[in-house]
Symmetry: C2
Subunit: 285 residues, 2 copies
Amino acid sequence: MPHRGAQSLRETLRVPLGVSVDLTAYGTRATPGARNGKDAARADTARMGEHLAGLQERLWAAGTAGDHRRVLLVLQGMDTSGKGGTVKHVVGQFNPSGCRIHAFKAPTEEERAHDFLWRVRRALPGPGEIGVFDRSHYEDVLISRVRHLAPPAAIGSRYGLINDFERELAEKGVTLVKCFLHLSYEEQRRRLLRRLDRPDKHWKFDPADIDERALWPAYQEAYELALERCAAPHAPWYVVPADRKWYRNWAVSRLLLEHLRELDPHSPPAGFDVAECRERLLRQA
Amino acid sequence: MPHRGAQSLRETLRVPLGVSVDLTAYGTRATPGARNGKDAARADTARMGEHLAGLQERLWAAGTAGDHRRVLLVLQGMDTSGKGGTVKHVVGQFNPSGCRIHAFKAPTEEERAHDFLWRVRRALPGPGEIGVFDRSHYEDVLISRVRHLAPPAAIGSRYGLINDFERELAEKGVTLVKCFLHLSYEEQRRRLLRRLDRPDKHWKFDPADIDERALWPAYQEAYELALERCAAPHAPWYVVPADRKWYRNWAVSRLLLEHLRELDPHSPPAGFDVAECRERLLRQA
C-alpha cells in the first residue's frame, strides 16, 4: 500500500493525454511504485488479493440491487508479455463466479461477417461483474494494421469508433482499466526459448510467433498509436513494465484495487425486516 | 492424499446404484476420508489446488490439440449449503480462464419458452474446460417438484430425459462430477441467522428462504428421488457432508482430483521442429 500522500499507481503508469507516445521512453524492467523489491511486492499482491475479493463481493452485491457499475480489465501486449499469467495470478484472486473472462482469438467467419465491435459487445461484463479481455478490440488496430488485414481507411476510422464505444461503456457504468504489458524484445526471446526448452509448454508455442517477432518495430508503432489515440480520462491506458512477472502482477493488482476503491461499492441494505426474519427462523421447529 | 491402497473418496461418497436413497442415513457433519482433522485437511486442500491447476492446464493443452474431454462439476444443495463457497474456494484454485461457471436462477421468460435442458446446453463447458453449475437441470426435478411448477407427468418424464442427456454428455467426453452438498436443518438455521447478524451479508438473504425451509422434508424427498434415479456409472452422484465447510472444500477438491487423475490429460507433442525454431530465435537480431 502506498503511504498517505504517495502518488497513486494510476497516476504513475497512466499514459498522458494529448501527447505522442514513445514506448522506448518507458522501461520494461522498471518497477515504479514497488519500493521494497520482489518479496515485499509478492506479499503485498497476496494481501491485495483479499481486498480485491472483498471489493468484488460488494460490487456484486450492489449489482443485485440495481447498481450498474462493473469493471473491465483489458490486457494487451506482445506474445509472452503475460496476459495469460495476469489472468491466472491476478484475476485468480477474485471469486471466479463474478468474473467474465474472454480471450479473443483470430475472428471466426461469423465474427468477420459483423463489424469489429460485435464480438466485443457480446463478451462484456454484466453489472457487478469483473470483466477481463485477454486481447480485445485493440487487435483491430494492432495486428490488423501491421498485417494489413483491412484497408488503411477502415483501420484509420477504428480509433474513433473505439473511442465512441468506450465512452458509451463508461456512461453505462463500466470502469475501463486498459493495461499494455510492456515487454522487451530480449525478454520475449528468453521466454520463447524457455517454452521450447519445456516439452510441457510446447502447446503454447507457435512457430508463427517467430514471424510476428520479426515485425516488432511495426507492432510497437501500432501500440504507440493506439495508446496515443485511445487514452481518455474515462478510459485510461496504463503502461505496465512486464519483464518482471512479480512486478506485473503487483501493478495490475494495485491498479484494480485503486479503481475498485474509488468505485467504493456498497452492499445494499436489507429490503426486509431483519428482526422479524430472525424470529421466524427461531420459531421454526 | 490417501495412502496406497486406501479407498478412493469417489468410492466412499458415491451414491450406490440400484438401491433407494435415504438421506437421513448420510451424516451431514461426518468427515469420511479426512483422517487428520480440520487443519490437515485445509493444508491438503491447498496442496491439491496446485495439482488441480496443473491437471487443468494439461486438460486445456490437450483440448487445443483436438482432445474433446472436459469436466462438469454440478453443485446442488439446499440454501446456504455452500454451493457459492465451493465455487469461491475450490473452483477458485483453477486458472479462471479455463473455467466456465454458470449459476442457474429461476428461468427467464425466454428460457421457459424452451425445453428445460435448452439453457443447460448453452452453459456447457467446451473441450479442455472445467465447467461448473451452481444449481443445474436438477432444479427441474427439485423445486419444480416441491413447488408443483409443472404437471406431475412432465416432472416424472424428466428423470429419463436427464439420464439421456447425461449419457450423451459422457459420450461427448464430459466427465460429470455431481455433488449434493448435504446440510442439516439445524446448520441451515445457524447459517441463515448468521447472515441476518451481518448487514454486509443481508444482500444474500431472501425472506423467501424461510418459506422454502418449511418445505425441508419435501426437498429431502425430491433429492432422494433425483439421486436414486439419476446416478449412473458415467454420471455418479456424490453425497458430500456439508455442515463443515473445511470438509466440503476438501472433499470436492479431492473428488475433482481423483477424476482428473483418471483422465490423465497430456500436453500435446510439438507439431513443429523445436531445434529449428530455437535456431531461428537465436538468429534474430
